[in-house]
Symmetry: C2
Subunit: 217 residues, 2 copies
């Protein structure tokens, strides 16, 4: 691996690892909103799966790349914490929409990136992003809640826009500070331009997903 | 299995399952106090392990005993929720002491009980209670915090007393309502007497543990 690649891979895996750890924490926290024990258990199961991913990434960083996981995660602590603090769900459905939207945007981003990774890192990233059927749970719950009470759609659509807006804000902030990461994403001199186009594609797919939830994005 | 046994086993496993689910939730919530990412990850790991136990118990209740897990857990929701609400840690060390004390008392209780269970249920209970090395993490952290700042010992000793007091209050409440459970524990006509003696033994072992943490109980 070239040095620039290594730096970018460490960034990617560090961001993904801290993302999984915070996702774990937030899903566990949001499970307090669950209307039934079965729902609580479903959200707790999503959280536990995220923790399993976190552990895989931390092991890979330490054992395969030879970097301290905490060092790799450090640049992403503030952006991810701020994302979560600014998008704290106020009820069960907002928590589900956030889990679904957040997971999906992260998965889209890492799939965009994965072609540029070495085969082993790519295999790890794809493994960690593999949908474990959890997002279907969120989709089903949100859809049927909207069917039962169509007035929810407006509020949840606004919520979806806020989630993606805050995610883009933090992504731009990271982009401004992490050169190697942007070079990996872009692979050309027009770095920030290609990065912006990628964010555009991610936003488009987010819009489609919101539509499939019955929400306008 | 006799009918009284079955009822008691369903109670035991229902209480344990809901205990694991709430332990998951509380540990994940308390991980926000962690002073470092490594500490956060350790507490999250304990939480994820509790969720794994929860899933094993739920599967066993549904597939082996043929009872809806939610039905089995229902009688224990209020006591366990009240226990957690009345013992919400206000910092990292209180969270660790609670994780250690709570896990240990539950393990002692189920080990007392396990001799009276059918072999398959006993194997499951012992598997779920197996220490995964997590409590040593809590012990190490609390001990070295007290060495660094001996004034902590008084506050944490008080906290330990509050934890065990609230646990006993909820255990008495459950005992007053769950006949089959008490008959399983006692195995004699002097039901509540034997139950009280068992609580006495649990409290003694708690006192020894607090001593090994450097705290007076």
């Amino acid at each position: 691996m070239e040095e620039v690649d290594r730096e970018a891979v460490v960034d990617l895996l560090g961001a993904l690892a801290y993302g999984e750890l915070t996702a774990f924490e937030r899903l566990a926290l949001d499970s307090r909103f669950a209307p039934t024990i079965a729902d609580k258990a479903s959200l707790a199961g999503m959280a536990a799966a995220e923790f399993g991913h976190f552990r895989r990434l931390v092991d890979y960083l330490r054992d395969e790349i030879g970097v301290e996981p905490e060092t790799a995660m450090a640049p992403f602590i503030a952006p991810l914490n701020e994302f979560h603090e600014s998008t704290s769900p106020s009820d069960w459905l907002e928590g589900l929409v956030k889990a679904y939207v957040g997971d999906s945007i992260a998965a889209d981003f890492y799939r965009e990136i994965s072609a540029m990774l070495d085969p082993r890192t790519r295999a790890l990233v794809l493994e960690v992003l593999e949908d474990t059927g959890h997002s279907q749970f969120a989709v089903d719950r949100v859809r049927s809640a909207i069917q039962a009470d169509p007035a929810l759609a407006g509020r949840l659509a606004l919520w979806g826009r806020r989630l993606v807006g805050e995610a883009l804000t933090q992504a731009q902030r990271v982009a401004a500070e992490r050169d190697a990461l942007i070079r990996l994403v872009a692979g050309s001199s027009d770095n920030l331009g290609e990065f912006s186009r990628m964010l555009g594609r991610l936003t488009e797919r987010h819009t489609e997903r919101m539509g499939s939830l019955g929400l306008s994005a």
